[in-house]
């Protein structure tokens, strides 16, 4: 069905430009990629002015032929029209000529199309590299979701976001959502997810929450103590040396959604033992004497446990700077040899 929609959408779009050759051309380009199976599939949203045109151009490569990614590129050999305002009087009058049927794609101040595009690829250690481009959403918060994993990022001066995200399911669908409702989606298969045990703690705003992992009996501050102050890298886990922590969410955004995700390569490590997991909540001026909402997600041996909503009663404000340490909130990892 997606494929059909793609064909209709693509054909309508291109035919309306009077550029029939491009359809054949793009088909020919696509046919060169038959049998090529990119793991990352891309879906992009193209903003079209005409309401009766389908808004989503989606590539579905599951049947027939496959399309090189990103499809938006393969679909746009046709020159796009710049903003009419920048054109001379003559050209502007020319809008009544055949090219006038072209949907007036909105563009950014730099003349770039306003499409929101999200692409993904596997980045090792069951991580997914996400690239978001949104030329008309500069320095704007965008929420990124995959199932129950949610966090807020800020786009750059050029409307881009680059972020490496721990996958929370083997077939991971990522959605980027702007405040104005614009979204883009991408899907990726994470084959090495079963190799990792993964625990995520999610919250919103200034919660003072931290996820701590103590590997193989390590004490606080030692090498095996992994937390946002000593997160390590995904590379470390990919080499089966130990776990790492990914901190997601931009602290510069007000009331941003955050996630801390600890991953351990349980499937590939040769060393038996335990990783103790704890949640520490700092008693801050923002949080003292209040209830903090959070959520935990856990994947063990590739199995996603039911998500758990958490309410933490933070001690009173006389204890500013203290920590509420919760050792039983998350189940410790037990690493056994397979």
């Amino acid at each position: 069905m997606d494929k059909k929609r793609y064909l209709i959408a693509g054909a309508t779009f291109l035919a309306s430009l009077g550029a029939g050759y491009a359809v054949q051309n793009s088909g020919a380009i696509a046919s060169q990629f038959v049998g090529d199976a990119p793991t990352a599939r891309v879906t992009a949203t193209i903003e079209l002015a005409s309401a009766n045109l389908p808004k989503v151009i989606s590539s579905d490569s599951t049947k027939g032929f496959r399309i090189p990614s990103p499809p938006a590129e393969s679909l746009t050999p046709v020159p796009r029209l710049p903003d009419a305002e920048g054109l001379s009087e003559r050209v502007r009058r020319g809008e009544t000529l055949p090219v006038a049927a072209v949907p007036a794609t909105t563009h950014s101040a730099f003349g770039l199309p306003c499409d929101v595009e999200l692409t993904s690829h596997n980045a090792g250690a069951a991580m997914v590299q996400l690239s978001l481009s949104a030329a008309c959403h500069l320095n704007e918060p965008v929420e990124i979701r995959q199932g129950d994993l949610v966090f807020t990022m800020n786009t750059s001066n050029t409307g881009a976001v680059e972020v490496s995200v721990p996958a929370m399911s083997r077939d991971a669908v990522y959605t980027a959502i702007f405040k104005d409702g614009k979204t883009a989606t991408t899907e990726v298969t994470v084959d090495d997810l079963a190799e990792y045990d993964r625990v995520a703690l999610l919250w919103e705003g200034e919660s003072g929450l931290h996820l701590h992992a103590l590997e193989y009996g390590a004490q606080h501050g030692e090498n095996g103590h992994v937390w946002s102050g000593a997160p390590r890298s995904a590379n470390y886990a990919a080499r089966a040396r130990g776990g790492f922590l990914a901190r997601l969410g931009d602290p510069h955004i007000e009331n941003a959604k955050f996630a801390e995700v600890y991953s351990f390569p349980s499937g590939s490590t040769a060393r038996e033992g335990a990783v103790r997991l704890s949640v520490e909540a700092e008693v801050t001026a923002y949080t003292c004497d209040q209830d903090i909402m959070a959520k935990s997600l856990q994947i063990r041996r590739g199995e996603l446990y039911p998500a758990l909503d958490i309410t933490l009663s933070i001690p009173e404000c006389s204890g500013l700077g203290d920590f509420l340490v919760l050792k039983n909130l998350l189940q410790d990892l037990s690493i056994a040899q397979n």
Partner: protein, 522 residues
């Protein structure tokens, strides 16, 4: 419904002006209107009404009646509330994990409201209505505290690492909580075990129970005495207040712990194993469900039997330091959600949660003859005057086309009564039989004994035990259709020991009734 209540309330109000006011605040009417019962509402548990009527206290199924009157509960807003209290071992991660998966199985979302690690509450919400349907309070401390809370009415379920004590049972009877020693008042949630542990850098792989006893009593204080190098044994022991600690003192008769080099007591198993893991000269006793980064030691016997605390060895209780973990409930009707949760604990889904949280579940496993080569080899090696070749051959011919099941029956120390885990096995087997799990098969109750005394009398004793267990199972499996399955008994006395007979625990392990099955021979 609410309108009806209001109308009836108005009517009652008017009536009350005319007649003297009677303490009859609810009227329960059957759906066809034929039966009507009035009285004072004592309680509603989400399913049943308890009403004090002129006929006495009646319990009525809420689905069959319409409630009217000012005392009627708001059925929509009903929240099942109950409290769970007791052992840290069960309460820290196992019960919360079971409760969370129970919520998911009921399509409810769970929220954990945390004050600290020992006090928290679960709220279960129906996503369809957005209403909270159950609120479960947790108090995680010790088994003793759990029973105290039950007796004071603060808890509805006790998480216990041991069977209820006589004193507690007596107090419960006095408090109107029923006989906690009755089968219906407790269930085994999971299996655990006491395990000796050392650091991974320690070369030792096994230790005998006698050596453990000697270390605890101070007779052994140096690794040299265990065949290692000359270094003192740094002993780490769970404190007597903890469930693991009291189980250790009970099982190893180590009430008088007097280790020569002193010992380090830990209130928390996690701290204990972390301390042991970082010290190559440390030896600790912990529970199987909390090994941390330490290495478990197998229990060796002088007769060449080694017991590693593997899941199947706990299920069969062949591992001598198995600890069943209990849940006790009082003899009063708990809210519907609580009853459903108790029912959920026995399901395969719950058993999977038990296994993935590091405990041993109670799913029945099959043990093939190949996996028991060691046992048969030992039997042959010990054959002689008392057990002769023809008897061994008879045993092999009976069992070679059968498979042993992990369900095994053992007896209390110095008693003919089954131990707690075996009583649970009787119930579990009865349920399996009734469900037709073993239809068209022959189940063999095979009795074995220790080697004390004459072989012929041991064989008679083991036959008597096998018969007794079969009778207990038949009595429990009320709805069993006996034509569908053959229940046979067999006995081989001391022919296949599991441990040497020179210690009490060894003899205890040997006195058993095993369960085997094979296709029915008809």
């Amino acid at each position: 419904m609410r309108v009806l209540c209001a109308v009836v309330y108005a009517a009652l109000f008017l009536l009350s002006l005319a007649a003297p006011l009677r303490a009859q605040d609810v009227t329960l009417t059957s759906r066809d209107g034929a039966v009507e019962v009035g009285g004072t509402l004592l309680g509603y548990d989400g399913e049943f009404f308890r009403v004090d009527t002129i006929y006495g206290v009646l319990t009525l199924d809420g689905s069959g009646v319409v409630c009217s009157g000012p005392g009627c509960p708001d059925l929509e807003a009903y929240i099942a509330e109950f409290n769970i209290s007791g052992s840290q071992t069960l309460g820290a991660t196992l019960m919360p994990a079971l409760l969370e998966s129970f919520a998911a199985s009921q399509q409810l979302t769970a929220r954990r409201i945390v004050t600290d690690d020992s006090q928290f509450t679960y709220e279960m919400t129906s996503p369809a209505t957005g209403l909270v349907v159950a609120r479960i309070g947790f108090r995680v401390a010790t088994t003793d505290q759990g029973f105290t809370d039950l007796l004071s009415g603060e808890a509805d379920m006790v998480l216990s690492m041991r069977e209820v004590s006589e004193v507690e049972a007596q107090s419960a009877v006095e408090a109107g909580l029923g006989d906690l020693t009755a089968a219906a008042r407790s269930r085994i949630v999971a299996l655990d075990a006491l395990v000796p542990v050392v650091a991974r850098s320690n070369q030792r792989r096994s230790v005998s129970l006698d050596q453990v006893s000697d270390i605890l009593s101070g007779e052994i204080s140096n690794w040299e005495h265990l065949g290692g190098r000359d270094a003192p044994i740094n002993l780490h022991i769970p404190s007597a207040e903890s469930g693991v600690g009291s189980a250790l003192r009970l099982r190893l008769s180590a009430n008088a712990l007097k280790p020569a080099g002193g010992m380090i007591l830990h209130a928390n198993s996690a701290d204990l194993v972390d301390a042991v893991a970082s010290d190559p000269f440390a030896l600790g006793i912990t529970r199987l469900s909390e090994l941390g980064t330490a290495r478990p030691l197998a229990l060796s016997g002088d007769c060449g039997f080694d017991f590693a605390a593997r899941p199947v060895a706990l299920k069969t209780e062949d591992y001598p330091l198995t600890l069943p973990l209990f849940l006790y409930t009082p003899a009063r009707r708990l809210p519907k959600t609580a009853r459903e949760f108790l029912g959920y604990l026995g399901t395969p889904a719950a058993q999977r949660v038990v296994a993935r949280t590091g405990f041993v579940d109670q799913r029945v496993e099959e043990i093939s003859l190949q996996q028991q080569g060691e046992r048969f080899a030992n039997a042959i090696a010990r054959a002689g005057e008392e057990i002769q070749l023809p008897e061994l051959q008879r045993m092999v011919s009976e069992l070679r086309h059968a498979r042993r099941l992990s369900i095994t029956f053992r007896f209390k120390r110095g008693s003919t009564a089954l131990d707690a885990q075996s009583r649970a096995n009787v119930r579990q087997l009865a349920v399996l039989l009734e469900s037709g799990y073993f239809d068209d098969e022959e189940l063999l109750f095979v009795g074995f004994s220790d080697g004390e005394g004459a072989a012929s009398s041991n064989k008679r004793i083991s036959m008597r035990r096998a018969n007794a267990v079969r009778a207990a199972v038949r009595e429990e499996a009320v709805t069993l259709d006996r034509s569908r399955i053959t229940l046979s008994v067999e006995a081989f006395g001391e022919a296949m020991p599991m441990a040497c007979d020179d210690t009490e625990w060894g003899r205890q392990v040997n006195r058993r009734v095993e369960l085997w099955h094979r296709p029915a021979q008809r």
